[in-house]
């Protein structure tokens, strides 16, 4: 499935994820895409290799006298429960997204935002926000602008806008002041995960004053 992806993550986003400077909300979109895309996984792991070289080049800092023994003690206290970590989740959501939702798509607590569109905001550190969106087949996403960067990944169905057609795994990155109006394909509802740096401003749907109540 990883070969069908057409729209990838830009290198600077992967670099920010690799260094650990990317916000939690955007990191969730990156982790979701990389779970589905080996092309970006390879790019990411090659950027991680720079981090490896940086670590290797660090001037050694003396460790505590009993440091090794203390570490071995920690190890014996830990169960070797490592291999049953989520490998590849069967279902719609990769494991990182599942851990935020508390399960797969059937565990999402959707709220209606009007015109048949539903959303679920996921809890992350402040500064950027991330939410799941479910758009009925053939429907338009409410027209909106945003102040910062916005990153959207499709998990089910597809949508189309000025940037092209986006299917499962595809990511759209939109920068400041872009006005786009995605339309979901006919067929099944389009489910996407969208991260934004600043709150969205819906133009047509809600008066701006109402926004705080919807936390978008």
């Amino acid at each position: 499935m990883t070969d069908t992806i057409r729209h990838h993550l830009p290198d600077d986003i992967l670099a920010a994820y690799s260094t650990g400077s990317l916000s939690e909300a955007f990191s969730l979109v990156v982790a979701t895409h990389v779970s589905l895309c080996d092309e970006c996984r390879a790019t990411l792991e090659s950027i991680d290799a720079v981090g490896g070289a940086v670590l290797e080049g660090c001037e050694a800092e003396p460790v505590a006298a009993e440091s090794f023994e203390a570490t071995m003690h920690r190890i014996t206290g830990q169960a070797a429960a490592t291999m049953d970590r989520p490998i590849q989740a069967a279902g719609l959501f990769p494991s990182a997204l599942r851990s935020y939702v508390g399960g797969d798509v059937d565990a999402v607590r959707w709220r209606s935002v009007g015109m048949g569109v539903r959303q679920a905001i996921l809890r992350t550190e402040p500064g950027a926000s991330v939410r799941l969106l479910c758009i009925p087949p053939g429907a338009a996403m409410p027209n909106h602008t945003h102040r910062g960067r916005e990153m959207t990944i499709v998990l089910q169905g597809a949508f189309r806008d000025e940037g092209g057609r986006f299917c499962r795994g595809d990511v759209e990155v939109a920068d400041d002041h872009v006005r786009h109006a995605p339309v979901a394909d006919a067929g099944e509802p389009c489910i996407c995960l969208a991260a934004t740096e600043a709150p969205l401003r819906f133009r047509d749907l809600l008066p701006r004053l109402a926004q705080p109540f919807f936390r978008i």
């Binding site: 990883t2 290198d11 600077d12 670099a15 920010a16 690799s18 260094t19 650990g20 400077s21 990317l22 939690e24 990191s27 969730l28 982790a31 979701t32 779970s35 080996d38 996984r41 390879a42 790019t43 990411l44 792991e45 090659s46 950027i47 991680d48 290799a49 720079v50 981090g51 490896g52 070289a53 940086v54 670590l55 290797e56 080049g57 660090c58 050694a60 800092e61 003396p62 460790v63 505590a64 440091s67 090794f68 203390a70 570490t71 071995m72 920690r74 830990q78 490592t82 291999m83 970590r85 989520p86 490998i87 590849q88 989740a89 990769p94 494991s95 990182a96 997204l97 851990s99 550190e125």
Partner: protein, 184 residues
């Protein structure tokens, strides 16, 4: 030990930890990497006490997650870096770190030995390229990894040989995917 064999030797030591739970091999890894992990955490803003704490956590994770280490996709330094970075995000920024699904060979699978050597050689080459960078440029890259938020663009402009290492990793991923399909 020459620089070329260096990376491959550490990968080899890690495999002994993975396969045989070899404490001597782990101690050698600890003596080399623990002081670097601690330095990395301190340069990222952790107090010495917290850095020591987190470093022990990181090194304990190296032992407990040994089964996930894939020498055809990462040098040992790179793999330890990713664990240390995640621990830093958790401890210093107090945010969660969403991670991609794990892809690993499983209990019976093994990466191709030629792939392992090629990747370890590429990692050594990357390390040398880093050392040869002009100081200002290297400093910029290091600061980005120590968590200086204002410098996050590394890949494009540095002139580091990332393309070759990426194609190696891509190849290893293709083989791993193939293996996973065969098992199903």
């Amino acid at each position: 030990m020459t620089t070329d064999t260096h990376e491959a030797d550490w990968a080899e030591a890690m495999l002994r930890v993975r396969e045989a739970r070899d404490t001597a091999a782990f101690e050698a890894i600890f003596r080399h990497y623990a002081p670097r992990v601690k330095a990395f955490l301190m340069k990222s803003g952790a107090e010495p006490g917290l850095a020591e704490e987190c470093m022990q956590d990181v090194m304990a994770t190296v032992w407990t997650k040994a089964g996930l280490y894939d020498p055809s996709r990462a040098s040992l330094a790179t793999w330890i870096f990713t664990i240390a970075r995640n621990r830093r995000i958790d401890a210093i920024r107090r945010a969660r770190r969403p991670e991609p699904d794990e892809l690993y060979w499983g209990p019976e699978g093994e990466p191709d030995q030629a792939d392992v050597l090629a990747l370890q050689e590429e990692s050594a080459r990357l390390g040398r390229a880093m050392e040869q960078l002009p100081e200002a440029q290297r400093d910029l890259i290091e600061r980005a990894y120590f968590g200086d938020r204002s410098h996050s663009e590394i890949a494009a402009e540095t002139g580091l040989p990332l393309g070759t290492i990426k194609s190696r990793i891509r190849l290893a991923l293709d083989r791993l995917r193939h293996e996973m399909k065969m098992k199903r």
